[in-house]
């Protein structure tokens, strides 16, 4: 038996009912993510990328299937336990507006640590360090509205990694950025992944970013049509077990 993957997603299903219409967002997704991977989830609009990341981040419940994080089943956690798990293990970066507007970059970066109850000195040291790793040390005292979109996303990543999570889930982190800033952001994430072993799963529909990743999971209509493992080191003929 191979080592337990960081994430194990099995036959995950989720559909939304709006009035009479039922939309299937995920129709049986299987996915393994190993620690240290740098994975993009790609696919057309409406293919289920956000839904998948939300379920992996225990922000929502699926209808069926299982999600395991480090050997612990997390898809049926009650609200409070889910919040504690997110706080302890998972870093989030969202598409937009994900910083707290009234806090400085440093305070934003320290916020998850503050929620964890770390004392001021410790959390500021870690937050400063995280900002420095994203080349944002000079902007520590700026409020989000005094930063560019790319800079805001870097602060969001700093906030995620300052808390040293098992994984950073990023839903379309580059969607509000121009292609240059988007590419820079992905490069920074890549560097954190390579140099500091931070595990990333992010979604994007920008094909130009995909040559910067080593694994692309392609979604279509709520199904994984290509899980990216054969593109790297596996033989083309290997089927999912």
């Amino acid at each position: 038996m191979t080592a337990e993957p960081l994430y194990r997603v099995r036959d995950l299903r989720k559909s939304y009912r709006v009035g009479e219409v039922t939309t299937s967002a995920l129709s049986g997704v299987d996915l393994d993510v190993a620690a240290g991977e740098f994975t993009a989830v790609a696919g057309p609009s409406g293919s289920g990328k956000s839904t998948l990341l939300h379920l992996m981040g225990v922000l929502d419940h699926g209808d069926a299937g299982e999600v395991w994080l480090r050997g612990e089943r997390i898809d049926r956690l009650p609200r409070g336990a889910a919040a504690r798990l997110r706080l302890a293990r998972i870093g989030f970066v969202f598409q937009a507006y994900n910083l707290i507007p009234v806090l400085s970059a440093l305070e934003n970066a320290a916020f998850v640590l503050e929620l964890r109850g770390e004392d001021r000195a410790a959390r500021e040291a870690k937050a400063r360090d995280a900002l420095a790793r994203l080349d944002m040390a000079a902007y520590a005292d700026r409020r989000p509205n005094q930063l560019s979109g790319g800079q805001r996303q870097r602060v969001a990543i700093a906030r995620a990694i300052a808390a040293d999570p098992a994984i950073v889930l990023a839903d379309e982190p580059t969607a509000n950025l121009d292609s240059r800033a988007g590419a820079d952001l992905i490069d920074l994430m890549r560097r954190l992944n390579e140099e500091e072993d931070v595990t990333f799963v992010f979604s994007t529909h920008d094909p130009r970013l995909l040559d910067r990743v080593d694994r692309i999971v392609r979604l279509e209509d709520g199904r994984v049509v290509d899980d990216g493992t054969d593109a790297t080191d596996a033989p083309a003929s290997q089927a999912t077990p």
Binding site: H54, G57, L59, D60, R79, G80, A83, R84, L85, R86, L87, A88, I90, F92, F94, Q95, A96, Y97, N98, I100, P101, V102, L103, E107, F111, V112, E114, L115, R159
Partner: protein, 412 residues
């Protein structure tokens, strides 16, 4: 500053106009409450002063005088010893006591042609409280200077058809005194109260004693002339108790027990003040509710992010409540300062413009003394904070129960 407070402060500052209006409303309500309590205190003190000036802070009478049918039964005979005891104890307890033995004699007063039955009031003079209404406007002639003089209400003088300088004869047969006396009318008084004016006949204690009851008095009143506020009066009851023990054969009461209906009124006044004040706070609370609710609704997405990052429901609840309480505390601080400044400015007494002479004509003190106790200030501030907590409860619950995924969908 802890991050929770800083965060709340900055969030309030985001909508500073709205926050200022709301904090201002809370401040105004606290200020109004403090001022209103102080005015209520002034009214209570006014009542207290009127009562004690008319009847004394402590009153010594004959036991059973209240329902006596015979004049003799109302008397404290050989009163000198009792008066000396009262004077001694009053001097020991009060700053500037005025001890007034009084004797009212029912008599037939006669002028040249007409007569009328009244109670002639005798007491030693001067008595600043009773003489307050005697000024150029109300007193014609002069006030008493000797034991063979009398001052009448102007209406009574008219009824007897006597004028200043005339002789007035009093008949009070059946007592231990001479039963008859002649006085020179030296002055007449205009009183605002016609009932009082037709019954007013004032002379000295020595005169009424000689007329009907040598050596006796009906009341020994102790006036604590420096006492202005109920709150400062912690001595009346104690003095009454001491005198009660020293004069076991007499009845000794303080102003409260002597005026049971006033006591009831004072007891009813406080709850009334509080009830109106609560109404103020309910109105301010609705404004707070509106403010907190709006600020939560505007930040649904932000609260969604907080939940997504792992903030617990209670943490989010506390964040909203902190904002609300901070708003109230700032408002209450300003309101308290303003209210106390108002009370301090008028603590030495104020006169209602235009009404001073009207009050004086009834023999009332035209000066009001504002009064507030720390408990009432604490009530106002505490209630502001309680209002803030209640106003925040519902919006904070909304914020705490937000589903992160739903909230994220709010993004543009």
């Amino acid at each position: 500053m802890p991050l929770v407070i800083a965060l709340a402060w900055r969030n309030l500052w985001r909508q500073r106009r709205r926050s200022l209006v709301t904090a201002g409303a809370v401040g105004l309500v606290v200020l109004l409450s403090v001022a209103y309590f102080a005015l209520g205190g002034a009214a209570e003190n006014g009542l207290y002063q009127t009562l004690t000036e008319r009847g004394g802070h402590v009153i010594v009478t004959a036991p059973g005088a209240d329902d006596a049918t015979r004049f003799e039964a109302t008397l404290v005979e050989d009163a000198d010893a009792a008066i000396a005891t009262v004077r001694r104890e009053a001097d020991a307890t009060l700053a500037a006591p005025l001890v007034l033995p009084t004797l009212d004699v029912p008599a037939l007063l006669s002028g040249e042609r007409r007569s009328r039955g009244v109670a002639i009031h005798g007491q030693p003079w001067p008595d600043p409280a009773r003489e307050r209404r005697l000024d150029d406007a109300t007193l014609e002639g002069r006030f008493l200077e000797g034991d063979d003089e009398i001052v009448l209400g102007a209406a009574l003088a008219r009824a007897l058809d006597v004028a200043i300088g005339d002789e007035v004869v009093a008949y009070a047969p059946g007592g231990a005194g001479y039963g008859v006396a002649a006085y020179a009318l030296v002055g007449t008084v205009d009183l605002a109260d016609p009932g009082a004016e037709i019954a007013a006949a004032w002379t000295t204690l020595a005169a009424t004693q000689q007329l009907a009851a040598p050596g006796a008095v009906q009341r020994i009143e102790v006036h604590g002339t420096s006492l202005r506020r109920i709150a400062d009066d912690d001595v009346s009851a104690a003095l009454a108790a001491t005198l009660g023990a020293a004069l076991p054969d007499l009845r000794v009461e303080d102003w409260r027990t002597a005026n049971p209906s006033t006591q009831q009124l004072l007891n009813a006044l406080d709850p009334l003040l509080f009830a109106v004040s609560v109404l103020f706070f309910v109105l301010a609370g609705l404004l707070m509710l509106n403010t907190v609710y709006l600020s939560v609704m505007e930040r649904i997405h932000e609260f969604g992010v907080l939940h997504a990052l792992g903030a617990g429901d209670r943490r989010v609840l506390a964040m909203v409540a902190t904002e609300s309480v901070l708003l109230a505390v700032v408002g209450a601080a300003v309101g308290t300062a303003g209210g106390l400044a108002f009370v301090a400015a008028y603590a030495d007494g104020f006169r209602i413009p235009g009404l001073a002479s009207y009050y004086a004509s009834f023999g009332l003190d035209p000066v009001f003394y504002l009064s507030i106790d720390p408990g009432q200030v604490a009530f106002a501030v505490g209630f502001a904070v309680l209002t803030a907590v209640l106003a925040a409860a519902w919006p904070a619950t909304i914020a705490a129960r937000i589903e992160p995924v739903e909230a994220m969908r709010f993004q543009a």
